[in-house]
């Protein structure tokens, strides 16, 4: 088969060139450092055990094996059913290069399908190696058997997903395609109906203790007709979890049968899938190009997006960046998100208060929302990214603007900051409303707490955003371009360095603010004879002012670096 001669060549050349590309980048110290950190992490997590011999690794208890196998099989079956319902087509997606080189080449449709199947298996092999290194011994105790079982099981899952994609592609052809796939849909409907019926035949287990629940539940399933519906999944997971060659060989014939059935199903799919593949590849290419070509960070989407406000040609340039960011994120989307959040939070709160749980002090509810607020304060800068991180592709355009670097940096950050602050204030309002019921938190305390948090949260987030954006300015090559895949030790090290470096920098930056806030609190206590709620609010404001001052200074410094930045770096 021609494909068997071509695909290994492409995969081997790709792997080699990719490695060479990464090795060449080691000449730059920052990439060398990231790679060293990534390799250290790999060594720490998996390498040590391979060199120093088997360590004592806690493995899955034998008695839990059936329960784990049944649980994974049931979970996998549900996931595949969802893939049918949601018409998952990911496995059919080929790259634009594959479309351009393979489709006009003297290959049959079956050849191209073989290419895709073999490619999925090859990619699965790489994933299998990493999964085995990390989980192999803990899961089965025998890494080699685990690797073989895992590869085979996920090969089946990939092929099933490919089969789903081909089936839906056939349906896209119209009635003719639907007729050709009638047998598949009939089989699917029968399997779903049988599974549903079999599930009703499971006798509810009566375990003697909580610990006995998994084993009892697995026994109940295995003694019911449901075992037939879950048989493919149970066979594959049993293969993955096999500890001895005997156990592995016991399940291997069944697993190979499942694999063979899937292979035949996919390869014999007489589907003109080219159109679906071409459209998927084009969509991906267009999205990528749109990201690469769009100016000012405004993504190209279907239909125009409404501007949040009318932008005047006069006034601070930072407002123009805010305006752009709000459009980029979609004002409607933002308002929609906020609306959904409010509606969900409100409905949840009402449901809880109206239920018997309503007797639970609403401070619990308030504390939950307040916890969410803390999460948004700390994680928001990582989630809201309509700033320099989004505009990584357009640093050259930004550099060409007749605007000082510090103003560009501040303007870019402003877009994300406004969104984070809106989310925070929304949660604070909800928390305040929840704390209203009990007398535990009096109105005075509540008011001062909200007043303090409403300023401190945004200041903390502002500093977080400055740190996240500083990576783009200081280490532009470390931020992956959109659509760019990162892998290997360099990517792992990069993520570790950025995450830990960010935390360290945030911790250091918070120290002076905390000291000033503490000073303000102490001064109030001395003057007023004790720290009351207003004192805490004052401390929060002072700390927030210090944080904002730091953010302001940092953006000034970043602006200067931005003015000297080489956008082509990396």
């Amino acid at each position: 088969m021609l494909v068997l001669r071509v695909l290994p060549f492409v995969l081997a050349a790709t792997l080699r060139n990719r490695l060479l590309h990464q090795v060449r980048r080691l000449r730059q110290p920052r990439y060398a450092f990231a790679t060293a950190v990534g390799l250290a992490w790999l060594w720490w997590t998996v390498g040590r055990g391979l060199v120093t011999g088997p360590r004592k690794v806690p493995t899955l208890s034998e008695e839990f094996m059936p329960a784990v196998a049944v649980g994974l099989a049931a979970g996998g079956t549900v996931m595949l059913l969802l893939a049918w319902i949601f018409r998952v087509r990911r496995q059919l997606a080929m790259s634009e290069a594959e479309v351009q080189f393979l489709f006009p080449a003297p290959l049959t449709r079956v050849d191209v399908l073989h290419w895709r199947v073999l490619q999925l298996l090859a990619v699965g092999l790489v994933g299998t190696v990493f999964t085995t290194l990390i989980f192999g011994r803990a899961a089965s105790g025998n890494p080699l058997l685990f690797a073989l079982g895992w590869w085979l099981a996920f090969g089946v899952v990939d092929m099933h997903l490919l089969g789903i994609a081909l089936t839906w592609a056939a349906v896209g052809e119209g009635w003719a395609g639907l007729r050709r796939r009638a047998g598949t849909f009939l089989l699917l409907a029968t399997a779903v109906a049988f599974t549903a019926w079999a599930a009703t035949r499971v006798v509810p287990p009566r375990p003697a203790s909580i610990e006995a629940i998994p084993a009892a539940a697995a026994r109940a399933v295995l003694e019911s007709p449901l075992r037939y519906a879950l048989w493919p999944g149970i066979t594959l997971t049993s293969l993955v979890l096999a500890r001895t060659p005997a156990q592995f060989l016991e399940h291997l014939p069944g697993a190979l049968l499942v694999l063979a059935a899937h292979y035949l199903w996919v390869i014999r799919s007489s589907v003109a899938f080219e159109e679906a593949v071409v459209h998927a590849a084009e969509r991906r290419a267009r999205a990528r190009e749109a990201r690469l070509r769009r100016r000012g960070g405004v993504p190209e989407r279907k239909g125009p997006r409404k501007a949040p406000f009318r932008l005047s040609h006069e006034g601070p340039v930072e407002i123009a960046f805010l305006w752009k960011s709000l459009i980029a994120n979609g004002v409607g989307k933002l308002l929609g998100r906020t609306g959904v959040l409010v509606a969900l939070a409100w409905a949840g709160a009402m449901a809880v208060l109206a239920s018997p749980l309503g007797k639970v002090p609403s401070t619990v509810l308030g504390a939950t929302v307040a916890t969410l607020w803390v999460i948004v304060v700390l994680m928001g800068p990582n989630v809201f990214r309509t700033d320099l991180r989004l505009d990584r592709q357009h640093l050259d355009v930004l550099r060409s603007l007749p605007v000082a670097g510090r103003r560009i940096v501040r303007g870019e950050i402003l877009g994300s900051l406004v969104q984070v602050v809106l989310a925070q204030w929304l949660l604070l309002g909800l928390a305040g409303a929840a704390f209203r019921t009990p007398a535990l938190v009096g109105p005075g305390v509540r008011g001062w707490a909200i007043a303090g948090a409403a300023v401190l949260g945004p200041a903390l987030s502002a500093l977080g955003l400055v740190l996240h954006n500083s990576v783009v300015v200081v280490l532009p090559g470390w931020i992956p371009r959109e659509g760019e895949r990162q892998a290997g030790p360099e990517a792992s090290g990069l993520r570790i360095v950025v995450a830990f470096g960010g935390l360290l920098a945030l911790g250091l930056a918070v120290l002076p603010a905390a000291a000033l806030g503490g000073l303000a609190l102490g001064t109030w206590a001395v003057l007023a004879g004790g720290p009351g709620p207003p004192a805490f609010a004052l401390a929060a404001w002072v700390a927030a002012a210090a944080l904002l001052a730091e953010a302001w200074l940092a953006t000034g410094l970043l602006g200067r670096m931005f003015d000297r930045l080489d956008p082509s770096e990396g």
Binding site: F9, L15, N17, Q100, F103, P104, P106, T108, A272, E274
Partner: protein, 259 residues
């Protein structure tokens, strides 16, 4: 009279409710260059993609070097080169490896020599070990052209092949296309650069709304416009013809795949 290297009969392609190509019929003889022109959305790229074996047509027949593309896809595509408008390359394959891939796909014996000549012809010498990320847009386009020419195809389908090329490269590519035609290859060239089409192509096929609105040599097309067409260049003819093209008919039935 040679039998056509490419024969397209009643080609139709429908996307949902849109009839992108509606019963196109034309042929290209060996050594002939056919220009495919039309306004945006006329169905040019879809037509070329159907000929290139990328998209399956809903109806019609495509014969490449006498082979039916639907029934004998491998044999038909062996004689074909499809050069797309956007050069999409494998991110981590070098220039030489792209050519090696094509050589293997098409079974080109002694491809290294042909590849060297092509890289020289297209001024890509010294870039053999470069990855696509290290090439300019024009160089990528040249690499796609080199890949297309490597197996010495009898039918070459080109969708906007000159996009992104500098003037010197455009001149070289035009010479290259003429040389292939002179050697007996049939070329279908789609381009919005009408002077290039006028210069390179023997005949022109003007499509609008997926249908042929004019077909023939420039003189023949001028002739259909009567006295008003006399002396008009392709641009002038294009404007007159496509302005007068009727609106598309609504899609009624989708013919079964029969190409």
């Amino acid at each position: 009279m040679h039998s056509p290297a490419l024969q397209v009969t009643g080609l139709s392609k429908v996307y949902g409710d849109l009839r992108a190509v509606d019963g196109l019929t034309f042929s290209v003889a060996p050594g002939e260059v056919l220009g495919l022109v039309g306004p945006n959305g006329a169905g040019k790229t879809t037509t070329l993609r159907c000929i290139g074996g990328i998209l399956p047509p809903n109806a019609g027949q495509i014969l490449i070097a006498g082979r039916n593309l639907a029934r004998e896809p491998v044999e038909a595509k062996r004689a074909l080169a499809f050069l797309p408008d956007e050069p999409r390359l494998f991110e981590y394959l070098t220039v030489r490896e792209h050519l090696a891939l094509v050589a293997r796909l098409y079974g080109v014996a002694g491809w290294q020599e042909s590849a060297r000549a092509l890289l020289s012809e297209l001024e890509l010498e010294g870039k053999e070990n470069a990855l696509p990320g290290e090439l300019s847009r024009g160089m990528k386009q040249k690499l796609v052209i080199a890949c297309g020419f490597l197996h010495d195809p009898r039918v070459i389908v080109l969708d906007e092949p000159l996009t992104g090329l500098d003037p010197l490269a455009i001149r070289k590519t035009k010479q290259s296309l003429r040389a292939r035609a002179a050697a007996g290859a049939a070329l279908v060239l789609s381009s919005h650069l009408l002077p290039v089409v006028e210069e390179v192509c023997h005949r022109v096929l003007v499509v609008a709304h997926g249908r042929v609105v004019a077909h023939g040599t420039l003189d023949e097309i001028r002739g259909t416009l009567g006295a008003s067409g006399a002396g008009a260049d392709l641009e002038e003819l294009f404007v007159r013809i496509t302005s007068a093209a009727p609106e598309p008919l609504p899609t009624q039935t989708v013919p079964g795949a029969g190409a």
